[in-house]
Every structure is written in structure tokens, then in C-alpha cells.
Amino acid sequence: MIGRRQVLLGLPLAVAVGGGGISYVMLQRMERGTYDPHGVPNPLVGKPVPHFALPPLGAGPGLASAELHHPGRPVLVNFFASWCVPCVQEAPELMALHDRAVPIYGIAYKDQPDAALGFLERHGNPYLRVATDLPGRTAIDFGLYGVPETYFIDRGGIIRWRWAGALTPDVAHDQLAALMRTYA
């Protein structure tokens, strides 16, 4: 039988081991990028794309939510800005996705059109089409809290995933590839 002394000695040890275990899992997930303590949850995941109609960046047609309500294939929506450093960081990964024929719609967030066009000239244009959200109101309807942010929209127009921050090769390989398989 376990005595009182054993319980009194064992309890702090159990608390320490339990707390250590939880911290270890948290740190592991932070390293893999699946857990961000500063991350803001997005209640739009599982819901249809919010209503919006945005003018184009430069020439060509703009972008409206009606087109994303039944895109017929999974698409990405990427918010970016020329003034955003992680956007430069993720540019090569977006180009790699573009090369793999992943359809990406771009939305320039609170950016002067000339500056945004200059950004695409310097870092490449991975987008099927680019719209501009100068007041940043559409971004708020998406629950955006910084740039870059990337949304995965399934063939039925439902938002399935949101990535806040630069899209790294690891994220594309681990998370995006799995989504593509699930919702292909």
C-alpha cells in the first residue's frame, strides 16, 4: 500500500513531470510551426468566403467573393504588401507553388498600387489575378491581423485553413500538401 509519505513526495514529482511534458509538447509544436502562442484563432475556418468585391491591381479584372464561392478546385488567397518583410521571405515559396500550378489569388493589403506592382516585378508574380484592398476592410472581414496571410479555400468555397506569417517550405510541405490531398 502507498503511504502518506510516498504521496507527499510523489505529488510534487508528478506535477513537475506533467508540467514538463506539456511544455515539451508545446515547444516541439512551436518548432514545427503547428503551434504559435501569439496566434489569433480564425473563426472563419469552416465557413464560406466572406462577401467582398475588390478593384484590380493594375490592368485586368478585379476579384469578388462570388468567384470564390464555387471555384471548382482548391485555391489559395494570399494577402501581401510591398512594405512587409516576411512577404519578401515567402515570395520564393509562392513562386514554387505557382510552378506546381497551384492557383493563387493575390490581394494587396493597404498598399499603394505602384508600390505593390513594383513588389511583384522585383519578387515575381505568382498570382492568377491580383486585387487591391487599400482601406483594408476586406482583410478585416477575413479576420486578418497582419501580412502575409494565406487562406486555403476548397472547391465548394469553404475556408479550410489560414496561415498567418510567411509561407515557408516546411509549412507548404507539411500542411499545405496534406490539405491539397484532402480537398483535391
Binding site: 501569439h38 489569433v40 484563432p41 480564425n42 473563426p43 472563419l44 493597404k110 482601406p135 483594408g136 476592410r137 478585416i140 472581414d141 477575413f142 479576420g143 491581423y145 497582419g146
Partner: protein
């Protein structure tokens, strides 16, 4: 000694803990002309978290997104929305995380229950200690052989 204490007191009183909450409305044109509506907008804004700075309310933060959200709050208030409707609009986009005072729900049960849990644990520990003391049997006095052994061990 007295001047030191006075200085300490002055420093404590001057510390930001006691200061009224500073609002970051750096552009007066942001404010509504109607003082009643402006006051309501500020009260709503004080309850909403700035998603960029996270530990500040949107009224305290000077981040661009906080400014946009302040503007939206004022638009809705002017349009006759209730406080609850404005907060619900924000929660639909940013989740309950946007509320600086989290609502009481399944996910926040542990958060709100923590003080009760801590008090109950403390009370249990104190209770067990008291009971152990009350039921403790007093030790019998030393026997003659024990006393002799003690004398031998502590002897000169």
C-alpha cells in the same frame, strides 16, 4: 528614513499602475463629435483586444489595425448598433480572443474556475493538516532503557 519612505510612496503613486488608462487616439479627427457616442465607442474599444499588440485594447494601441477597428466601432455606434452587436461583429471575425474579458464558456472553464480551484486546494491542505494535528496521539514518555541510552549518547 522618512524621506526614503516618502520618495517610495511618491514613486508608487506616480507608477503607471495608478494612472488612468491612456488612450492612443492620436488624431482628434478620429473622435466622434457627439460626446455620448464617443464615450460609448471608447467603452466598447476598451473591451476589445488589439490583435497586433495583444495585451493592449484597440483604444490604447497605435497599430494601424487598431486604428481601423476603432474607426469601425465608431461607424457602428453612429449607425445605432448596440454594444453587444458591435462586439459580436468583432467576435465573428477574430473569435472570442478579441474580447479582453473572455466569456464564460466550456473553453474558458479552467480559466474562470482557477481561483475557485486554488482556494479549494488550499482549504483541503489546511483541513488535512488540522485533522492530522487533532488526531495525533501524544508520544509516550521515554522508558528507563531509552533514558539510559540517551544519557550515554549525550554524556560527557
Amino acid at each position: 528614513m522618512k524621506p526614503v519612505l516618502l520618495a517610495l510612496l511618491a514613486w508608487l503613486l506616480a507608477s503607471p499602475v495608478w494612472a488612468p488608462v491612456a488612450h492612443a487616439v492620436d488624431d482628434p479627427s478620429e473622435m466622434l463629435a457627439n460626446p455620448v457616442l464617443e464615450r460609448r465607442a471608447e467603452q466598447i474599444g476598451d473591451r476589445l483586444r488589439c490583435l497586433v499588440c495583444q495585451n493592449e485594447s484597440i483604444e490604447q494601441s497605435s497599430a494601424g489595425l487598431a486604428r481601423d477597428l476603432r474607426h469601425i466601432v465608431r461607424q457602428k455606434v453612429t449607425a445605432g448598433w448596440t454594444d453587444r452587436q458591435v462586439v459580436a461583429w468583432m467576435v465573428a471575425r477574430y473569435g472570442t480572443f478579441v474580447e479582453l474579458r473572455p466569456p464564460f464558456e466550456a473553453q474558458t472553464l479552467l480559466l474562470w474556475g482557477a481561483p475557485v480551484l486554488a482556494l479549494a486546494t488550499g482549504a483541503a491542505v489546511v483541513g488535512i493538516g488540522w485533522r492530522a494535528r487533532a488526531t495525533a496521539v501524544p508520544l509516550p514518555p521515554l522508558s528507563d532503557t531509552e533514558r539510559a541510552r540517551l544519557d550515554r549518547l549525550t554524556g560527557p
